[in-house]
C-alpha cells in the first residue's frame, strides 16, 4: 500500500525534475519526497481517527482515575496514560499541580510526565511505517520502562521533600482530604467528536509538519551524502563511549518525537547500532532545557537536577543494554 509514494517520488524526482536515479543527489531527493509524502498522508489520516476515539479522554479524567491507586499499579498506569493522553507540553505545570493536589504521589505524576513526550500516537505511527512493528514495540516498552522506573525511584528517594513549598502543601492537603467522587462522564455526540478530531488534526499537523521536513531532510542528507559504511565503520561496533556521547549530543538538540524518528531510520539503515540510536533519540526528545526550566516553578533545583541526571543515566543504560543485546542476537 506504500508503493504509491515510491511511484510518486519516481515521477517527481526522476521525470519532472529529471534527476538521475544513479546520482547521490537524485537518490537523496527521491528519499526525501517519498518519506515526506508518506508521512504527511499517514499523519493526517491517523491523527484524525485516533482523535475521534480518544475525544473523551482528558487529563482531568486521568487524574480522577489515578487518585487513590496503590503505588505499584500507579506507576504502570501513570506511564500508560502518559503515552495515550494528549496534552501540550506547556501544560506540564498545571498537570503536575492538578495531580499533586489530588494527593497522587510525585513518582506516579512523574511516570506520567516522563513517558508523555517519549510515546504518543504520532511517534508510534511513524515508527511502524518507517522501522516496522518489532522496533516500535521495543521503543514503547523501553519508553514506558524509563517512565515507570523513574517514577518509582523518585518516590523511593522521597522526592516530595524537594517540591516548592506551596506544591508540597497542596500534596499534603490532597493526601489528607477524602477522595473526591469522580464527576460524571459527559457523552460526546459524533459532531463533537468530529469537531475535536478536526481541531486536533489541524493543531498537531500545524505543529509537526516542519519537524518532518527537518527530520527527513537530515535523514536524506545522511542517506545520500554520508559515504556508505562510514557510520558502520566508526560507530558500528557499539563502542561503549559512543552511547554517553550520543546522550550528551542529544541534550542541546531539541526536537519532538516526530522530527527525530526519520533521523533514527537513517541512522539505523546506515549501520548505527540500535542502542546508540535509541539513546540519542530519547535524549533529544525527553531531555530539553526549556521544558525543565519550566518545572522550576514547582520543584527545587535539587529535584530538578536529580530528574535530569536520572534521565541521562537511564538513556545511557538503555543504550548499553541494547548494544550488548544485539551482539548476542
Amino acid at each position: 500500500m506504500f508503493e504509491v509514494f515510491a511511484q510518486f517520488a519516481d515521477w517527481l524526482a526522476y521525470e519532472l525534475l529529471s534527476l538521475s536515479p544513479d546520482s547521490k543527489f537524485g537518490d537523496a531527493v527521491h528519499f526525501f519526497i517519498e518519506d515526506v509524502s508518506k508521512i504527511y498522508v499517514l499523519l493526517v489520516v491517523m491523527i484524525y481517527f485516533i482523535a475521534l476515539l480518544r475525544a473523551s479522554l482528558n487529563v482531568e479524567q486521568v487524574r480522577n482515575y489515578l487518585a487513590g491507586k496503590n503505588k505499584g499499579v500507579g506507576y504502570i498506569l501513570g506511564s500508560g496514560f502518559g503515552a495515550i493522553t494528549p496534552f501540550c507540553s506547556c501544560s506540564s505545570i498545571p498537570v503536575f499541580l492538578g495531580f499533586t493536589s489530588a494527593g497522587i504521589p510525585v513518582g506516579i505524576t512523574m511516570s506520567f510526565l516522563l513517558t508523555s513526550p517519549l510515546i504518543n500516537e504520532v511517534a508510534i505511527l511513524l515508527l511502524m511505517s518507517l522501522l516496522g512493528w518489532k522496533f516500535t514495540l521495543l521503543y514503547v516498552v523501553v519508553g514506558m520502562t524509563v517512565g515507570i522506573i523513574g517514577g518509582a525511584f523518585l518516590d523511593a528517594i522521597k522526592a516530595e521533600r524537594w517540591l516548592q513549598s506551596f506544591a508540597k502543601k497542596a500534596l499534603e492537603a490532597g493526601q489528607n482530604a477524602p477522595l473526591q467522587t469522580t464527576q460524571e462522564k459527559e457523552k460526546l455526540s459524533f459532531t463533537e467528536r468530529h469537531r475535536f478530531a478536526k481541531d486536533e488534526t489541524l493543531e498537531i499537523f500545524g505543529r509537526v509538519w516542519k519537524w518532518v521536513i527537518i527530520g527527513v531532510g537530515l535523514g536524506a542528507a545522511l542517506h545520500g551524502f554520508v559515504p556508505d559504511g562510514w557510520i558502520e565503520h566508526y560507530l558500528g561496533d557499539g563502542q561503549w563511549w559512543s552511547v554517553p556521547a550520543a546522550v550528551l549530543l542529544g541534550i542541546p538538540l531539541y526536537s519532538n518525537a516526530t522530527g527525530v524518528i526519520p533521523v533514527m531510520e537513517s541512522l539505523i539503515v546506515n549501520g548505527l547500532p540500535i542502542g546508540t540510536t535509541l539513546a540519542f533519540c530519547m535524549s533529544t526528545v525527553a531531555a530539553s532545557f526549556p521544558e525543565f526550566i519550566l518545572l522550576k516553578q514547582v520543584m527545587q533545583w535539587r529535584l530538578l537536577a536529580t530528574v535530569f541526571a536520572m534521565l541521562l543515566l537511564s538513556f545511557t543504560l538503555v543504550g548499553w543494554l541494547f548494544n550488548g543485546f544485539s551482539a548476542f542476537l
Binding site: C90, S91, V298
Partner: protein
C-alpha cells in the same frame, strides 16, 4: 467591565487565546480587561489542569485549548 484572565505558561496558544478574546470584545463593543496569568499558584487556585484556560469574573469557563469564536461570543454576551 468583565475581568478576564487567560491562564497558561505563556505558550503561543495562550497568546492567541488572549488576542482572540480582545478582538471579539472590541468587535462586539464589550468592555473587557484581559490579563495573562502565568503563575503556577494561580492554576492551583482555579483547579486548572490544562492550558490555555479562561476565567471570566472569577469563574472558570474553559480549559485545554484555544476557544472557538462562537464560545467567546457567548461568554461576552452573557
Amino acid at each position: 467591565m468583565k475581568q478576564i484572565k487567560v491562564l497558561g505558561n505563556g505558550c503561543t496558544k495562550c497568546q492567541k487565546t488572549a488576542e482572540l478574546i480582545e478582538r471579539i470584545a472590541s468587535e462586539q463593543g464589550v468592555e473587557v480587561h484581559v490579563s495573562k496569568e502565568t503563575d503556577a499558584q494561580t492554576f492551583l487556585q482555579y483547579g486548572v489542569m490544562s492550558t490555555p484556560a479562561v476565567v471570566i469574573d472569577e469563574q472558570l469557563k474553559h480549559s485545554g485549548s484555544i476557544p472557538h469564536t462562537d464560545q467567546v461570543k457567548e461568554w461576552l454576551t452573557a
